[in-house]
């Protein structure tokens, strides 16, 4: 980057451009310092058909501009001084293009549903909800009722449906620059925490366990069951006589060797008494 210059920016296609290349030149108001738009007659065919004279905003050179001072083509796309389209009209928000610098942080995890498998590999592409019951599109990104991509925290729109690319019969894929690896990936505790959560759900899915949600009780129970199953399989398994080895607890101790506590002893005593009463008092 040249000294005193703004860093170059990316458009959605991942192409770099200079900020000055899309800016018109204007006189400014001496007090407010705001740009002063000029006006010229609009000669476009659409306007001519209307019959009355119409005017359009332009810069000092007579080039068509929008209200925020960017150069436009006839269709309202932002163009550079050579006429190349940099931003398409539907990609703008309030006449302002996104400002995407190489240091802009973005993580796909912000918009990804909590999933226990790669939904893009589902041949029917009919997954509608993630493990937390939130709507997802065919790429596994969280979406609102109008199919805009939203973030996982506040459910705010990050990508309007209009800017998404078609995937598996649905407008579902985010613009190229956000999946190109050209942007900075956040490396903070929020990201690590999120990655861990998503990895955990995926691992559960791969090991065939139902649900990958971050429910601590379920997690603990499933984790204990996994440990027990592993020990049964690998440490004990089938004995020489064909019977399965006795069940072990989480610590690997035979459950038969675990001494019952006082409450359990009391319960067992009651059971034995019931048993004796039931069978000893039977009429002969």
């Amino acid at each position: 980057m040249e000294k005193g210059q703004l860093p170059k920016l990316y458009n959605y296609d991942g192409r770099m451009y200079k900020m000055q290349s899309i800016m018109g030149v204007f006189e400014r108001d001496n007090h407010s310092k705001e740009i002063k738009l000029c006006a010229k007659e609009d000669n476009s065919q659409a306007r001519k058909r209307g019959g009355t004279k119409k005017f359009t905003s332009c810069d000092q050179r007579g080039r068509k501009v929008n209200s925020t001072g960017y150069l436009l083509d006839e269709r309202g796309n932002i163009i550079d001084k050579s006429g190349n389209i940099i931003w398409r009209s539907h990609e703008l928000l309030y006449n302002e293009p996104p400002k995407i610098f190489p240091f802009t942080e973005f993580s796909i995890n912000w918009i990804k549903g909590t999933l226990d498998r790669d939904v893009t590999q589902n041949p029917r592409h009919d997954d509608e909800y993630d493990l937390e019951g939130q709507r997802i599109n065919s790429m596994g990104y969280l979406i609102d009722s109008k199919d805009n991509i939203i973030d996982r925290w506040s459910k705010s729109i990050l990508f309007k449906k209009d800017v998404l690319e078609d995937r598996f019969g649905q407008e579902a894929e985010i613009p190229y620059v956000f999946r190109s690896g050209k942007l900075k990936r956040p490396d903070d505790e929020i990201e690590k925490h999120l990655q861990k959560k998503l990895d955990k759900a995926m691992t559960r899915g791969r090991s065939g366990l139902a649900g990958g949600q971050d429910d601590s009780d379920d997690d603990d129970m499933l984790s204990d069951l996994e440990k027990i199953e592993r020990r049964q399989k690998h440490k004990y398994g089938q004995m020489d006589d064909g019977h399965l080895a006795p069940m072990v607890d989480v610590e690997g101790q035979d459950i038969d060797d675990i001494a019952p506590d006082q409450e359990q002893r009391g319960l067992m005593g009651d059971l034995m008494m019931d048993h004796d009463e039931q069978f000893n008092d039977q009429p002969e």
Binding site: G4, L6, Q20, K33, Q60, K99, L158
Partner: protein, 114 residues
């Protein structure tokens, strides 16, 4: 948990100005709350990062608010003026750099409001 910036203002671990008692993010000009603490992103009860889409859009700005007031040559390059000491200025005597961007004393690019 909060920290202090060079001017002694309370900031969170990301450097955002906060209200020490509530943890809300505040404006540097008016002390108004800009983001309530419960809207911030974090882990558990520790919230410190801007909510989306602001986190992604925080570098958005209108470049015309950062450019000086100039006449332009035929190649659209700004005709930059100089003060008595040879410093680059615009038609409103504001300091600018060689490309015409408004700058502060440390040569950071700034907007019309400074």
């Amino acid at each position: 948990m909060y920290f202090r910036d060079r001017d002694g203002n309370a900031v969170n671990q990301r450097g955002y100005l906060i209200d020490e008692t509530t943890g809300d993010l505040r404006s540097q000009y008016t002390f108004d709350v800009v983001f309530k603490n419960y809207n911030l992103i974090g882990i558990g009860n520790s919230r410190f990062e801007l909510p989306l889409p602001y986190r992604l859009e925080r570098h958005n700005f209108n470049p015309h608010h950062c450019v000086g007031n100039f006449d332009y040559d035929d190649e659209d390059k700004p005709i930059i003026l100089q003060d008595g000491e040879g410093n680059r200025i615009d038609k409103n005597f504001r300091p600018v750099n060689a490309s015409g961007w408004l700058i502060d004393e440390s040569e950071n690019i700034i907007d019309n409001l400074g």
